[in-house]
Subunit: 144 residues, 2 copies
């Protein structure tokens, strides 16, 4: 799914990004980032909690939720928009979209033709769009 070696940024890089956002560099934030990067793909907050437990890193559940929101705020993570349901996160690479298979439920990445946000424009009179995320639904190659 991810290119090999794409295991995310180093602690140093993550710290840098946090500081630049005026935020503190804390053990939970680094641990959450590492866990999500190691898991790869689209993961829920609870997946991260479980992964941290596996790694014997003591981080409270609340902190995982907080850290995910914070990391997202500075652009280190993105929410994978896969429609209603639990929130999914992924370490940000390039801006992209998602395909949700209605049979197996898998979430697959779909490259974005423009690669930067917003990749679609909004009709006038509604507001100012900062991003446009697309969710394709259908049947994936394996299930089809």
């Amino acid at each position: 799914m991810d290119a090999p070696g794409h295991r995310g940024l180093t602690d140093r890089e993550v710290a840098e990004r946090l500081r630049r956002g005026g935020l503190r560099v804390t053990r939970p934030r680094l641990a959450v980032y590492r866990a999500l990067a190691a898991l790869g793909g689209h993961r829920s907050a609870e997946d991260v909690v479980a992964e941290l437990r596996r790694r014997r890193e003591r981080v409270s559940r609340m902190s995982v939720y907080n850290a995910l929101a914070t990391l997202r705020g500075v652009g280190l993570l993105m929410q994978a928009n896969a429609g209603p349901g639990g929130t999914l996160y992924e370490t940000r690479a390039a801006w992209h979209h998602h395909f949700v298979c209605r049979r197996c439920g898998r979430v697959l990445d779909v490259p974005c033709v423009r690669g930067r946000r917003p990749c679609l424009s909004l009709p006038a009179g509604i507001g100012r769009a900062e991003e446009a995320q697309i969710v394709f639904r259908g049947v994936c190659r394996d299930c089809g």
Copy 2:
């Protein structure tokens, strides 16, 4: 938001649609459709439960969830994709997308340029897309 008079279909029309789908016409299903149509806009299952209580229509919570899924199945409702979080439903008009204001949280409709599904095509090799829903995020006119 909706054109006036766009209060949804009549019971007769809803019943027709259900029967055509091989489904039974039941009080809960009609009541759920009416409640959602009367509320208008993008509503959660719990909104519908509350509206039905207000109207003194005794329909169990479970039945509301079932009815929403059923009505969606025959195309009488659509799920408003507003990203992660509770599922939102709306009485179907034309196929369209959504804009979510990150300040006030409102969900606004965005007309679809093509007006039918799928309105965007998927790169080859992933699967067969049946629909593509777009979520714009940003700041709405009133908040901007």
